[in-house]
Structure formats: structure tokens, C-alpha cells
Symmetry: C2
Subunit: 632 residues, 2 copies
């Protein structure tokens, strides 16, 4: 702990570093480093189009939704220093506004769109004026004044709200060099550091996030007290202080507060909370060099992936408490799979990837992006799922707005997922590659221009529809550099050629090519895109005797609109022989996967027709499922 | 509607009928009639012991718990006519006190226990003094005074609370002849009839129950306006008036208020609400002779049993909203199966049984009593499950008090289930038999003395442990009478002998024997008790490739304490060959069922050892499951 930094020191905005970097920029030496935010860009193809929809539709419509919800009115009321004003939205409405602000900052950094720049300037000015003199900022408590500061710390999300603001400030600073919001962030962080700690309030927020935010602020500013405070919040959790008696379900489990992080075996409770917390604790472990903590967190990640994750990467099987279930409790009925939980997991995996350089973390990022995050938004960027279930049955009732059967929604009372999607997609290109002292690592595939590790390359591909990936070197030093390409764990028969010469590769590892590169050198990776069947763990009841169809990085699903002579609820595969078929009439052209099937218990023969899971509910709403029973 | 009954008429307590009858006593002619409350009694065996534990432990401890919770203090405050007093318990605390009062009345009627009589007298006096002058009675609104009457009708349970009081009053009157509480009930019902209706408040209570209560009060008093009001409440539901914006999950589905009862296909939403409502609507249909409504409800029952019920008879698969799932959404993980929902279903089936005389309704009553109701209380009557899950996994966290992994609890913040169990068990003997113009029907089996339909018989059996049932005629008229014995649907090879002569029987129907009976005549029914395997519906994911063990009326489960070389979470049957074994060391002697098994994925051979599901968690808490995968 370093409580001895003076208040004056921590407010010295001049100490900030020059702009640059993406969401995570470790100070400690890590195996891999993120590239500069402008050093990677998507140049075309599927993800580039989604990123463009995110910019032109999601962020713009998000602006309208936040206006309509009067999210900024709360800040205006706080700025006016009036207490007792009507408050708009849930207590974490500030956080949703700040996540939109972060998304807007990343997108502005990517596109330099003038309107986004104006929005940023005006909103940041408002936020700065709303902040209390001592740095506190949470408009529900400031303007509505219904409760005192931190009076209901388990619920009021005050620290969570400030954490989202800090993250937005980091994005703003790194993408623009402007420290306007960063100054607000520092004041808030200083306030928190003045308020919480071993010799101060011994409490922590009901909703984790501040751990990641404070570490990143430390990374931007070099201010050690922010790292110290993050570390304090990490250790403070797990002692049952957050049990709330007003709701039976709000136990310490819900808050990831049942057991200290160092003793935790599985992430548990509210999935988004648990994974944000794990990611923040990983940040702390990385920056403090705490290998014991780091190794504990790696085991927790392993256990989560083994026993608490759906095939599509979704996390959280319980609607009650939006929570992880017990190990292997993964029913397809009503699997919760909140979009935010998968996003949080990507954030966690990215940190573990940077720290370790192990490709399995990038494997999971890919699985979750395509199958548990993109499923949360329509292809046109306009409507969302909060819950990503793996099954909707015939006769399902539109039980509430979040249910699959009700269809995707434009916005939610709790709109964390849309704003979280926005900031993820606006910065998505940043996750494509990393660098190290040896050279450049291509972590995700998409048509892109990438510069890092001494190399500048162009990636050409129609991934994820096709498996051919061509990397053309555009510039290189006159010295030996390594180019590493991730071979996904599922890519059992991948082939790689460097300037026409075959190179042996192993699925689940990097293919590493070290040579003195010349401009025009071509590396050609072919990932096997034949559809395949996946079986589940024997302890997971719902998938016993069933298979999931996967193709490349995509998990497939059968949707009621496409089936041939079988019904989604009754179809069983009569053969494991899968057939791929290009369907130009669907979604502008996609490969579907079909298989012989019949209806149980004694129906006629037909075929199931599967589309990528994340594309379901883009046309109509109705029965859908991912896991398909095998007949007999 | 008959709003024209005058207030004076409906208050004429002198018009009540002589005491007698059980919980349901139709006025309309029904196929079957319940016996007099004192005309059946359990004389020994398993159920008699449970009924005795209910009397000596559950009701007595219930009295203590209600004292400790200060449930009666609320009535004292209301009686003192002070507003703004501290209120104790949830808004439906009155209802729990009244269910205990009803249980105590049935038990007092059965045993004539002096202490119970004193409790009844003193509590009823208190209740009478708490009632408002105009008949309103709900202490949360009277004494705490936080909200106006019916201000928050979807949540405040005022009408529900009065309904439980009316039910207790009926029990009190029928078991003792005393109209003390009945007078309170009539005043409350008159108040409701004065307040709600087509030309009055067009609303209904968030929690159904009043429908059943009002019909029974009509049956006791002959007062048609109570039946009319019940009919009004039945028709008032299903129009979306109960949507409550304060909680996202409280939609009209939750309240069984999405669709009118005549258009409903499946019971939906909160399971206890939905089934109480269906039972009350059935009462209305019976008394009004509304065959269209009645047939609709029968179809709803069929659909519920087909697609929304677990193998043990539990209802409600969702924790969120304690609700029915979509059709075939029956995951074993976290199956909710609230004890009260199974009790409500028994109440519904009993009404359908009386109306139709079809044995399948008695079949379901048996399944639910043994496997979904008795599972809710320990064998010593002292601790309860609110939730009856079909599976607890290794590593399950004690997430909240209702979770299986936390073990059974002495009481709950919402203690509807314990008090509901008490009133069910105290009146259980009443469900054993019915009568008709033809004679006597034995609906459930247990050692008992039964008089009805002109016959008086003694039933000797060690059911449910053994399948031999001997019925000895003790008295009979000198005329032909029918004795009918229910042959359960599972009893495929039952045999029946009358005075040594074989009689052919069919599973799922009644064996009907018509003759002029003589004292000493013996009917000997043997139900096949060989353990058997049950497979689930192909649409239910969780049970695909799995079997449940049943024996007689009992569903079996494997509990971690008993297994031989296999673990609950990993065991798979390697053979369908079941072995029964008498285990005198368990629970005073029970038949266990064992089968060859091994641990998946590649464990050594062993055996699973199954005990009756309802007996689990009587020794220790740990992994348990009902559905067992078949190996391969």
C-alpha cells in the first residue's frame, strides 16, 4: 500500500504518458505486448462490416437510446448540485453511459469521425462538471440523493460507475491524447484511494470492475496508489461482507464474495461480476508480479472452461442471479449466457494471453467472439440479446424482454450488453495481433493490415467463411524476425506454406516462422473448414447422446425456418455425415451444414439445416437449438 | 352474478350446515363423494407414522416458529387498531399462520388433542378481534399501514391471506361444529363480495387461492354470492391486469394472468399460483355445471402432466419466478419443484377425481404425495425442503436456504411449504377413499379403517413397502354394493382375489367388485413391487439416454452415502437388471434397489444403490440424482 502519495501529486495531469495503446497496456513485462491501437486495422470482410455497423448504427442508436432514457439528464442534475431530482434509469445508468462513451472513444480513434468527436467533447465536459469537488461521481446518489454515499455499497454500483468512467477516460486518452476525461478519472480514483483501504473504509463494491479500471489508470499514469487500491479491492473480496439481507438470492456467492480469490477454485455467482473480478485480479497479479495469485487465476480459468462454459463459450447457466451454476450444471434450457459475461471473459483471456503467450487463450477469445458475443447483436447492429440461450422450444412464451422467444430488443432497462458490445466491436481489431521481442503473432484472422514486432503485413482472407489465410509481408527489417500464426485447437489438419514451402504445424499451438523477411514474402495458412461434430462432457445432462455442429470457429444451430421435413424440437440425426452447402440466399451468402435426420419418436426421414448460431433470430423468432440428439 | 343477496342474509351464521366433511365437500352432484372426515382413519404403517410426526412435531414446532416470527403479534397490533406498528414477516405472513391454523383444526378433528383445542380457541379469538369492522383482514395493511387497501393488489396478498383464513374456518367448522372462525370468514367474504365484481373494483389478487376458498365457503353456507364471487375472480384473471412494473420478472405470465382460463392450454408462470387457480376454477366449474370450463381444465391437467411435470410429480422447473417452464423444459439441474406446487396439484386432482371418477387423478395424487410432497419434510417432521430438486452435484454451493445443497431447513422466510405440508398430512387419511351411489372406492392404500358407500372395511397392508393389500369387510348392508379398488397405472401385473377367487384387473382402471358383502369377506390385491425402469420423453434433454428407477408408487434416487464403487455424478448403469434388497439398517427398514454400474468415462465396475427419493437428505447432504444415464 502506498497511501503516502499526496493528493497534489496524484492530480498532476502533466505526468500522463503520450497517447497510444488499446484497452490493455501492461507496464510490467509480459510475454506478449499489444500493438499500437492504430497499428492494426480491419481492411474488409465480415468483421470489418460488423465493425462498421457498430459505428454507423449501434453507437449512433445508442446515443439516441441514452438520450431517450435521460441518462445525461442525471449528469446535468448532478452538475447543477441539486439534490432530490428525479433519477432516470437503474442505479448503474451512469455506467451504461460511460461504456457508450468508451465505445465512442475507440471508434473515434479508429475512424476520426467528426460527429463522434463532438459527442465526446460535450459529454466529457458535462461529466467533468457533474463530478463532486472531492472526486466522487455517481449521479444516483448525487442528484437523486436517496441514499448516502456508499450506504448500500453492495447494490448502488457507485464504484462500478466510476470504474466505467475510468475505462472511458483511458480510451479517450489513448485514442486522442486528450486528458480531459482522464483528469476526472484521476480525481475519482484519488477519492476512492482516500476513502477505501486497510486504515479507511474496509469495503468493496457489489459489482467488480474497478480492479481492471484502476490498474489501467495506473498503467496510463504510473501512479502506484491506483495499483495499490486495485490490489486492496482484490484482497477485500471474498470475506462475505457483501451479503445483503433484502433479497434472499443476494448472498456472498452472488457477489463473488464467498471465498477469497486465492482460495477460489471455480468462478461462481453472478457471472459478469465473477469474470470482471478475475480479469482485474489478473491485472493486479501481472503488475505486482504476484505469481501465486496469477497461477491461482489460471487454474480458475481452466476450471471455468472445463466445467462452467457452454460449447459456444457462453457463461452462466442460471437466470436466478444471472449466475454460474455448479460444475457441469449446463442445461441448454434457459442457459443464461449473458453477452456481457462472454465479453468479460474475452477481457480476462486477453490478459492471460499477453502474460503467458499461450494460444489457448486466443482460442477462447475467438470462440466467444463469434459464438457468444456476436450472437448478442443483429447483423445490422440495431437489436440485441441480453441472454444467449442455446435452445428455444416450440410454444415458448415471451416471458420477459430478455428471453429468446421475445426476439431481440432495441434496448433494455439494464442495457449493459449493448454498450459493452459497442466498446468491444469498436476496439475489436486491436485483438488481432500481438508482438514480442521475437516478432509478430497473428492471434485472430480477418482481412487486415498489421504492423508490429518489426513486421508490417497484409492479411487476406474470407475467414470465418473460408479457411485460406494469406499473409503478405509489406515491410521488414533486414534481420531475422519471427512471424507466429495461431493454429486453433480445432484445426487438426491445417497446412502452412512459406513462399511455397510447407511447414509442419500443430493444432492448438503457434506456427512460428523465423527468417529474414522480404517485402512480398507470402505465408499461406489453410485452416480445415470441413464441418465437424462435437460431443459434450458426460456430466452435462442436457447434451448426453447429442452433438453440436461446428465449422471452423463457428458453432452452428438449427433454426425453425430452414429445416427440411423435421421439426427443431423433435429432430435427431440419423447419421454423422455432414454436408456443407453454400447458400447465397441467406445473409448475403453463408455456408450451411446439413445432415440426415428424422423426427423422434418415429417420424419420417428429412434433413436438418444448420446456420451459424450467432446469426439466429435475425429473420424471425421461433424454435432453435444447438445440441442435436443422435438417433438411437 | 347475484349481487342482490343482502348483507344481512349472508351474515346469518345460523344457516350453516352441521359439521362434517374434509377439505372438499361438493354441493353439486359429483361422480364420487368424499367420505365423512371421521369415516376414514389410518390405523398403522408408514403413513400413519408420518401423520403422527406431523401432529407431534411439525404442528407443535410450527406453533413455536410462528411465535418466534411474531406472526400473531401482527394480529395483536391489528386488534389494537393501531396503525404504523412494526410488521413481522412477509406480507403473506397471515396466510402462513392461517395454514397452520387449518392444519391444527384438521389434526384436532382427527385426534381431539386438548392442547390443539386451546390453541385454536385462543388464536381464533385473536383473529376475530383483529378483523376490521367491515370484514377486511390483512395485518400488514391494517397494522403496518404502509399501503392502502388493495393499493398493490398484485403483491400484497390481502385476498390470499383472507382465503387461507376462510379455508381454516371451513376446517374448523367441519371438524368441530364451531362457527367461531366461520363467522370471521363470512364477514371477510362479504367484504370481498361488496368490494370486487363487475360493477365494483374490477381486479383480482396477485396470488390465487380465494377461488377455492370461496367455493368451499359456499359449500358450507349455501351462500350463492360466494360462488358468484369465485366465478368472478376466475373470469377476471387472464387479462393482463396484474403486470407489475417494479420487477422485470413480474409479468402477467408470472401471475397466470396472460390468457383467460378458457383459452389456456398449459398452466404457466408461477407454479403454485397457476395450480391453485386451476383447482379453484375447477371448483367453480363443478358447482356451476360449466362443462365447457371443466373440459378446458381437464385438458390443462393433461397437458401439464404430459409436458410440465417431473417424473416424481414435481411442478415448476424455473427458479426465476418459481415457475413452470415451456413445454418439455424439465432440466434436472435446478428443477424447482416447490413442495406447495405438488400440494396444489393434489388439491386439483382430488377435485377432478370427485367430478369424474377417473383413477388417473388418484394415480397422480399418489405419485405426488410420495415423491414430491413427502420429499419436502424429514421423516421426523422437523425440517423442510421448499425446493425439491432431482439432482445435487458434487461441489454444489449452498446458494441459498432453499437449495438442496444447503440441506433441509427448520423454517423459511417464506414458510408456505411447511404449513402447507402440515395441513395436507393432518387431513391425509381423508384422501384414501371415496363413495358413490354404487358403493366404496379405495383410492389410496395404507392400513386403515374405512366406512363409506354402505360398507365398512379394514385395510391391512405394509404399502408402500409391500404390494399385498387385504381388505376385510366389517359391516355391509344386505344388498349388493360395489367395492372398487384403484389399480395404479404402473401396476401392470396386479392380481386380485375375492374370497380366494381370482378377478381380472387392468392397470390404470378400477377393479370393481359388486356383490352382497358379508362381514369377514376378504379382498386380496397384490400390486407388483418389482423395481422397474422409466424412460423420459425425447424432448426432455436432461433425461435423454437415462432411466429413473421406480418401485411401486415410489421414485428412487441414488444418494452419495450408499454407492458401491461409483460416484453419483459419474455413475452410468451397465445393465437394466435391477436387484431389490431389504436393508434393515436404513430408516428402520426399507427396500433398496441396486443395479450394475460404472463411472463414466472409463471407470471400474460397481453398483448404484437407490433409496426412495423422498428419503434423501435425511442423513447427510451431498450429491444425489434421480435420472441415471445408461452406459453406451
Amino acid at each position: 500500500m502506498s497511501e503516502h502519495h499526496t493528493h497534489v501529486q496524484t492530480r498532476t495531469a502533466e505526468r500522463v504518458q503520450p497517447a497510444g495503446g488499446g484497452p490493455v497496456q501492461p507496464r510490467a513485462t509480459t510475454t506478449l505486448s499489444p500493438l499500437g491501437f492504430g497499428d492494426v486495422r480491419l481492411t474488409g470482410g465480415f468483421l470489418a462490416r460488423l465493425q462498421q455497423e457498430n459505428a454507423s448504427t449501434s453507437i449512433v442508436r445508442g446515443h439516441e437510446h441514452l438520450e431517450r432514457q435521460q441518462a445525461w439528464t442525471n449528469f446535468e442534475n448532478a452538475a447543477a448540485r441539486h439534490v432530490g431530482r428525479p433519477y432516470h434509469g437503474p442505479v448503474f445508468e451512469d455506467g451504461e453511459a460511460f461504456k457508450w462513451l468508451e465505445a465512442t472513444a475507440w471508434e473515434h480513434g479508429r475512424s476520426d469521425d467528426h460527429r463522434l468527436g463532438q459527442w465526446l467533447d460535450s459529454r466529457i465536459e458535462l461529466v467533468a462538471s457533474a463530478q463532486a469537488e472531492d472526486g466522487y461521481l455517481s449521479t444516483f446518489n448525487q442528484a437523486a440523493g436517496k441514499r448516502g454515499r456508499y450506504e448500500w455499497i453492495s447494490y448502488d454500483h457507485e464504484i462500478f460507475n466510476m470504474a466505467t468512467m475510468i475505462q472511458a477516460a483511458v480510451a479517450r486518452y489513448r485514442t486522442s491524447g486528450s486528458a480531459d476525461l482522464l483528469a476526472v478519472a484521476r480525481r475519482a480514483a484519488d477519492h476512492l484511494a482516500d476513502t477505501f483501504g486497510v486504515d479507511k473504509r474496509r469495503e468493496t463494491c457489489g459489482h467488480p470492475l474497478v480492479e481492471m479500471a484502476l490498474v489501467e489508470l495506473y498503467r496510463v499514469t504510473g501512479e502506484a496508489r491506483y495499483l495499490d487500491l486495485a490490489s486492496y479491492f482484490v484482497e477485500m473480496r471474498g470475506h462475505g461482507t457483501l451479503t445483503d439481507p433484502t433479497w434472499q438470492g443476494w448472498t456472498s456467492v452472488y457477489f463473488s464474495d464467498r471465498i477469497p480469490v486465492r482460495e477460489t477454485v471455480y468462478p461462481e455467482g453472478h457471472a459478469v461480476r465473477a469474470v470482471y473480478f478475475a480479469a482485474g485480479a489478473t491485472d493486479v497479479a501481472i503488475e505486482t508480479g504476484d505469481t501465486e495469485l496469477f497461477d491461482t487465476l489460471r487454474r480458475q480459468w481452466d476450471n471455468m472452461v472445463e466445467a462452467k462454459m457452454y460449447v459456444n463459450g457462453s457463461l452462466g447457466s442460471r437466470w436466478e442471479g444471472e449466475a454460474f451454476g455448479d460444475p457441469y450444471e449446463l442445461p441448454t434450457d434457459r442457459g443464461y449466457g449473458e453477452t456481457c459475461a462472454a465479453i468479460a471473459s474475452i477481457q480476462w483471456s486477453w490478459r492471460l494471453l499477453l502474460a503467458t503467450g499461450e494460444s489457448r487463450y486466443a482460442d477462447l477469445i475467438e470462440r466467444q467472439l463469434y459464438n457468444a458475443v456476436l450472437s448478442g447483436v443483429t447483423l445490422d447492429g440495431d437489436r440485441y440479446f441480453y441472454v444467449n440461450t442455446l435452445q428455444v422450444r416450440e410454444g415458448a412464451i415471451a416471458y420477459d424482454d430478455r428471453m429468446g422467444a421475445a426476439g431481440r430488443q432495441e434496448w433494455f432497462g439494464c442495457s449493459c450488453c449493448p454498450t459493452n458490445l459497442m466498446r468491444t466491436l469498436a476496439s475489436w481489431h486491436h485483438y488481432l495481433a500481438t508482438s514480442s521481442e521475437h516478432g509478430l503473432q497473428l492471434q485472430q484472422y480477418g482481412a487486415a493490415q498489421v504492423t508490429g514486432g518489426g513486421l508490417s503485413v497484409r492479411v487476406r482472407t474470407e475467414y470465418p467463411w473460408q479457411g485460406e489465410i494469406e499473409v503478405v509481408v509489406e515491410s521488414a527489417p533486414d534481420a531475422s524476425r519471427e512471424m507466429a500464426l495461431r493454429i486453433p485447437g480445432w484445426a487438426r489438419e491445417a497446412t502452412l506454406h512459406v513462399e511455397g514451402e510447407p511447414v509442419a504445424v500443430v493444432a492448438g499451438e503457434y506456427a512460428r516462422i523465423t527468417r529474414t523477411w522480404r517485402p512480398g514474402d507470402v505465408v499461406r495458412l489453410v485452416l480445415p473448414m470441413a464441418p465437424r461434430l462435437t460431443r459434450g462432457h458426460h456430466r452435462v445432462d442436457a447434451v448426453r447422446g447429442a452433438v453440436a455442429i461446428e465449422r471452423g470457429p463457428l458453432v452452428y444451430a438449427i433454426e425453425h425456418l430452414d429445416q427440411e421435413g423435421v421439426a427443431v424440437d423433435d429432430a435427431a440425426l440419423t447419421s454423422t455425415e455432414l454436408t456443407e452447402q453454400w447458400r447465397g440466399d441467406l445473409f448475403g451468402g453463408i455456408p450451411v451444414v446439413t445432415a440426415p435426420a428424422r423426427n423422434l419418436p418415429d417420424g419420417d426421414a428429412g434433413r436438418v439445416v444448420a446456420i451459424p448460431y450467432f446469426m439466429w433470430a435475425n429473420r424471425d423468432i421461433g424454435p432453435m437449438k444447438v445440441w442435436l440428439p443422435m438417433d438411437g
